[in-house]
Symmetry: C2
């Protein structure tokens, strides 16, 4: 049985994580302070280190949460495929439509810094994403000379790069249209295979 | 006539810029110190602020230099196109093969930080790159429902994202193979148009 105290602690932790994830996506990791997180979550500033240690601990916890969401999104794509290409496109749209994708792309900025505490975790997440697309692509007819591995790097890369252009200049970049173009490019290539 | 003093000053400036560009690409901007730049360039540490003011000034100068190289690469694509698709693919390979592309992708980390001094410059550079691809794509037969604008975002995005995956895990990601896949996707789409 969960005690009242435990329930409150779990709730506080979730509220802090949600607020931090929003703020990291909006302002970036470096610009976000414990005071910002306390104001957004409604949890006292002093509770944050009790739950997460320091700011790096909070970053790692937010990232783990984001990874779980990305993994859950991948698991939703059905294992058995009748019409491979149509399902591929559906799974694709679903992944990029998720709000966690934005956070994921924003935190990549931190992961690319040499010596970053989240570097290793991002290498793993990128591998998970590439492996996911690779498994799907391996079932589909590819044109000669192209590997599922190479296409997986391109598809994951396009998703990342489209979002980064949009983050830099949201008024100039239509991310939805660009993702539709990526789906059409993938479909065109696979139907030619 | 250029005096000996002016010549030496221009040479020193170039040596510092080249060393800083290498170090920013290798270690990241934040981790690079004036001492690192002095050691790599062979120019005394005290000369660096004389040429560039502070570290932010050096970053802006390196970025301008990188932009000039990217622009020069774009200008090399011929204006008159007989076989549009073949020339498009050539121009594409040339741009991504440039060493400046790596620096450009590494400095994007800095540009994405809110309040970054190079944010505005990156918005402009991304626009230049997208406009370049857009002008080419507008001459070619596109499938119905797809705009040259949307495809330009996807192509520039794929280039950025492929390089970032490679920067994170160079031993796991074959950037050359992924760029070949991107070229094939673009070619497949245009031939279907």
């Amino acid at each position: 049985m969960t005690t009242r105290r435990e329930q409150t602690s779990t709730e506080s932790r979730e509220l802090i994580l949600t607020a931090a994830a929003q703020l990291f996506a909006e302002k970036g990791y470096r610009q976000t302070t414990f005071i910002d997180v306390a104001e957004r979550s409604g949890i006292s500033r002093g509770s944050i280190p009790w739950h997460f240690g320091n700011k790096e601990g909070l970053l790692l916890a937010v990232l783990e949460h984001s990874v779980e969401m990305v993994r859950a999104g991948l698991a939703e794509v059905p294992e058995e495929v009748e019409d491979g290409l149509a399902r591929f496109e559906e799974g694709f749209s679903a992944l990029f439509a998720r709000p966690t994708t934005k956070l994921f792309v924003t935190l990549l900025v931190e992961a690319l810094e040499p010596g970053s505490p989240i570097h290793g975790r991002y290498v793993e997440i990128h591998n998970t994403l590439r492996d996911h697309w690779k498994r799907w692509l391996e079932r589909l007819p590819l044109p000669p000379g192209l590997t599922a591995e190479a296409l997986a790097v391109t598809i994951v890369g396009a998703g990342i790069g489209i979002h980064q252009q949009w983050l830099l200049a949201p008024e100039r970049v239509d991310a939805e249209q660009a993702l539709a173009a990526l789906r059409a490019m993938t479909a065109g290539l696979l139907s030619a295979g």
